[in-house]
């Protein structure tokens, strides 16, 4: 039962594999995947309070891991629901596409439960390799083969980041002689202030900085976001980040609270660089996906604000923030997927007059963008507010001021999208059809974004309990 969500997806992926062997049947594969995803989220919910370990203690199931699994599977359901038409992916490839999507999700779910270095590595690679394959599956639209370019960049940067991470792991093993987190923590705590241990932790974290798109491991982001199909980008942009934050929290606990100063300084510098780089680059983008890519970099910087407090409340705030980010981001990508007619990329111009062409989508976009910008009463504000409070409580005043300045910079590009959607005339652009399923997802996303922003208490409480369970 402990392994139920992963097991279900694993069996499902085998069925999907059999489907790909025959003649491609996109519709069947889609329905099967959606069913799997919904079942997996229900199972994650059912196993939320379970505790236990398996596979020779390499795999822990606790509230922390199950919360992330719930988030991952719910995000997966949302992506499948609004991306169900799968524009931009050739019909023959769809079963394979769904197969890799499910495999990537399994990888992420295993990642958040892994407490042993090799298990963790395998889970991470399972999720990454599936993504590497999903990127080039896009139709060749303009004959420019940008999806190939994106895929090559993604895999090259990914391989480098993984290499760096493995190097870090080798240091950790060399220092402590074990690969189990449970044994690592006390040993690393005694070594925490030594330069080698610091280096090892920093290198180890790089793999997840890459997933979360933290500066300077962000180089893949704009091109991959632009080159991959809209649904693929929606997936890459939101769901793996949950896994990355989960692991960054686990790694930070390896050194915290003793001797964490070097880690704090590193995280601080990375946070500031990510925020400024992401926000300033996003200002000049015309492609909405690319813009959201840069905005994602700056949000990654914000998440680090929670980590660098090295406290359970800080980790819990990071969890809350990344969960909120998942929903805000999905709301924006939902609009992109629907506005794009044949799976082409959406420029900001294409959103002109959206409030006349599809009022619900326009409203979803408004809520998503304003939430990302950090305007109350949405979740983005509450998240930022609590991250800033936590960081200031630790005395990082300059950091907090820089972060607040970034909020002001960021508003400009989010607002320019909203402006086009609400204040420009649609001209010749046609209405956007929105099916019932998308309406449902869209209203639920808005409701979640507002509810999390107005009543953060329950989620924070659960997240705090979850974080305490892994310390």
């Amino acid at each position: 039962m402990l392994f139920a969500p992963e097991l279900l997806l694993l069996i499902g992926s085998l069925v999907l594999f059999c489907l790909c062997l025959g003649k491609g049947n996109g519709k069947l594969a889609k329905n099967l995947t959606l069913g799997l995803a919904i079942a997996a989220s229900l199972l994650s919910l059912a196993t939320l309070n379970m505790k236990g370990s398996m596979f020779y203690d390499a795999y822990h199931v606790d509230l922390f891991s199950q919360l992330f699994k719930l988030g991952i599977s719910v995000g997966f359901v949302a992506v499948l629901m609004f991306g169900s038409e799968l524009k931009g992916i050739d019909d023959r490839m769809r079963p394979e596409y769904f197969l890799f999507m499910v495999l990537s999700t399994i990888g992420l779910m295993m990642l958040v439960s892994s407490v042993e270095l090799l298990t963790l590595f395998i889970a991470l690679e399972l999720s990454s390799y599936s993504l590497y394959l999903m990127v080039p599956m896009r139709d060749d639209h303009g004959g420019l083969r940008i999806q190939m370019e994106a895929a090559i960049k993604y895999i090259l940067f990914g391989a480098v980041a993984t290499g760096i991470m493995l190097y870090g792991m080798s240091f950790i093993y060399g220092l402590t002689g074990t690969t189990y987190f449970v044994e690592l923590i006390p040993k690393l705590h005694t070594l925490a202030s030594t330069p080698t241990a610091m280096l090892a932790i920093a290198l180890f974290m790089s793999g997840f900085f890459y997933k979360l798109a933290v500066f300077p491991f962000h180089f893949w982001v704009p091109d991959v976001y632009q080159g991959a199909s809209n649904v693929t980008t929606a997936f890459i942009a939101s769901i793996p980040k949950l896994g990355a934050v989960a692991l960054l929290i686990r790694i930070t606990t390896l050194v915290a609270p003793v001797g964490g100063e070097a880690v704090v300084t590193m995280l601080m510098i990375l946070a500031v660089c990510s925020m400024f780089y992401g926000n300033l680059s996003a200002l000049v983008q015309t492609d909405v996906k690319r813009m959201l890519g840069f905005s994602g970099i700056s949000h990654a910087g914000f998440v680090l604000l929670g980590l660098l407090t090295l406290k359970d409340t800080g980790y819990a705030t990071s969890m809350y923030y990344i969960a909120g980010y998942l929903f805000m981001n999905l709301a924006c990508f939902l609009v992109i997927c629907k506005v794009s007619r044949n799976g082409e990329n959406v420029t900001i111009e294409d959103l002109s007059g959206l409030y006349k062409r599809a009022p619900l989508l326009a409203f979803t976009l408004l809520v998503g963008m304003m939430a990302l910008a950090g305007i109350p009463p949405f979740v983005g504000f509450m998240g930022k507010f609590m991250l800033l409070t936590g960081a200031l409580r630790d005395g990082h005043l300059p950091l907090v001021i820089l972060a607040a300045l970034n909020t002001a910079i960021a508003i400009y590009y989010y607002l320019s999208v909203v402006r086009v959607a609400f204040c420009s005339a649609p001209e010749e652009r046609p209405d956007v059809p929105v099916d019932m399923l998308t309406r449902l997802v869209s209203i639920s996303l808005i409701a979640v974004i507002i509810a999390m922003g107005v009543a953060p208490r329950q989620i924070l409480d659960i997240a705090t309990i979850a974080v305490k369970s892994i310390l």
């Binding site: 305007i375 109350p376 009463p377 504000f381 800033l388 001021i401 607002l415 402006r419 208490r457 705090t464």
Partner: protein, 501 residues
């Protein structure tokens, strides 16, 4: 919690705040434009009606926050949902609830497209604005303060004039940029006091450097909202491009939030910084009065003229606040209400003409007194009120402000006098063109009953406050005295500390 007089029984304040929100949600489901308009009218009227017991049940002999409600919101950070009103916020709450039905009535025919969405935005604005004036928790305040930007942005950006995109973006960016440092200041205060409760933050002994920084963060946010010279540049653009109801909300209520912020936060939380920086702000106020007056004198667009006159009028309000004496403060609060009544009415008048002539130019309306006697009568009274003619509301307010000013600093007070003369000059120039110049406009009709009903309540208030201001002043005496006392305590403590180290 001894600074709260808890509300037993029916939660009046919460009902007033959330009624428009509930109305907005129901409005989403209603079909038919006229049904939507009537529903919004009904919701705002009911809100106004249930807000009246606030005045009758208000105890003017205490400076505590009355009708208070207190519910825990996010306990891990000591964030609470606390509402309450005192003599400073009472009149502003009433102003808000009474102006909103007039806004709905004033946009009855003005708004022809997307009526439902427009009305939803109005109702959301009402909830946020009322919440801002009632909030006694800083996070609650900030949430509502910022949340207001979205419906206001849409009001300007979707239903606005030709340059609406520029105006709405400028409004949003300016206001938001001003408030981000406010957030940092709030968190810093929380870390000092361990609570987000606004009354708990007052009267604490912060160091003067800390106060200075907090004050500057406050000042940036509130001065942009007021707007004080030189942060005023978003105002004319936003006013001119906004639809009538948007201009009225902006002028009557949104601008008051800046000065309300000074009264509620700057004075009691950072009294030392207020004392040391107050004189500079007085000079900025003088600059605003003169600058607003001269610029208004040069306008040919009626909305722009009124927008710049707002800069000048709000200069009088900040002038009254930072002299820190009773007359000045009471005059400032009264002047906030007066400006809401008078300028709101003037914007409604301009909107009514715009519906007929599709122009805001003074030249296009010259001589209309021959054709529209009723309209011109209203316009004349409101213009006279705007230039503080005796027997109108603004006279009482400006008189109190200037009386307070002369008792402290004759130089600054004297410098404000030309502002009052300028006000007469630009309003008279407007009236002269509209009344006497030109051939008149036989092609346009006079006000209809709906428009007269829209303006009449404001006219009553012009004369009521002008002739018998006591009911309005009596509710604020105790709260204002307490405010001055808070500043004085800090002053004497500081002096004592400096003399006996």
């Amino acid at each position: 919690m001894d600074f709260l007089i808890m509300n037993e029984g029916f939660p009046l304040l919460s009902t007033i705040v959330f009624l428009p929100l509930a109305g907005a949600i129901i409005l989403l489901l209603l079909p038919g434009e006229n049904v939507q308009r009537s529903w919004t009218m009904l919701v705002t009227m009911v809100t106004a009606a249930i807000s009246l017991p606030l005045y009758s049940g208000f105890d003017p002999d205490t400076a505590k926050y009355q009708f208070a409600e207190h519910v825990s919101w996010i306990p891990s950070l000591q964030i609470n949902y606390t509402l309450g009103i005192d003599g400073i916020s009472l009149l502003l709450v009433l102003l808000t609830t009474l102006i909103m039905p007039l806004c709905v009535l004033g946009s009855w025919t003005y708004i022809q497209k997307r009526v439902k969405e427009f009305m939803v935005c109005l109702l959301l604005m009402e909830t946020a604005m009322l919440g801002v004036f009632m909030a006694l928790d800083f996070v609650l305040f900030y949430v509502l303060w910022e949340a207001m930007l979205i419906p206001m942005y849409l009001l300007i950006g979707v239903w606005g004039g030709p340059r609406k995109i520029y105006a709405s973006i400028k409004f949003f960016l300016y206001t938001l940029a001003g408030s981000v440092m406010l957030l940092v200041a709030i968190i810093a205060l929380y870390l000092k006091t361990g609570s987000f409760s606004i009354p708990m933050m007052m009267g604490q002994e912060y160091s003067s450097t800390f106060q200075l920084w907090v004050f500057l963060a406050f000042f940036l946010a509130f001065a942009i909202k007021v707007p004080m010279f030189p942060f005023h540049t978003w105002l004319p653009a936003a006013h001119v491009e906004a639809p009538t109801a948007g201009s009225v909300i902006l002028a009557s209520i949104l601008l008051k939030m800046g000065t309300y912020g000074f009264l509620r936060f700057c004075l009691p939380i950072t009294p030392l910084a207020t004392l040391s920086l107050g004189p500079y702000i007085l000079w900025l106020s003088i600059a605003a009065i003169l600058y607003g007056g001269f610029t208004a004198l040069a306008q040919s667009d009626m909305k722009k003229l009124i927008a710049y006159s707002s800069v000048g009028h709000m200069g009088f309000v900040t002038l009254g606040i930072f002299f820190l004496n009773r007359q000045g403060l009471e005059g400032a609060i009264l002047q906030m209400i007066n400006h809401g009544v008078t300028t709101g009415a003037l914007f409604l008048c301009v909107g009514m003409m715009y519906e007929r002539t599709h122009s805001r130019e003074i030249a296009d309306h010259s001589g209309i007194a021959q054709n529209l006697p009723v309209f011109v009568s209203f316009l004349t009274v409101f213009s006279l009120s705007s230039l503080a003619f005796p027997a109108t509301n603004s006279f009482v307010g400006e008189f109190l402000v200037l009386a307070g000013a002369f008792s402290v600093n004759k130089v600054i007070a004297g410098a404000a006098i030309p502002g009052a003369i300028l006000a007469a000059a630009y309003m008279m120039r407007l009236l002269q063109h509209v009344l006497f110049r030109g051939p008149g406009r036989p092609d346009i009709a006079d006000l209809n009953v709906r428009e007269i009903v829209t303006l009449a309540p404001l006219l009553c208030f012009v004369f009521w406050i002008g002739l018998a201001p006591e009911p309005f002043l009596s509710v604020m005496h105790t709260s204002v005295d307490y405010l001055i006392q808070q500043v004085d305590v800090a002053r004497s403590a500081h002096i004592a500390m400096n003399v006996f180290p």
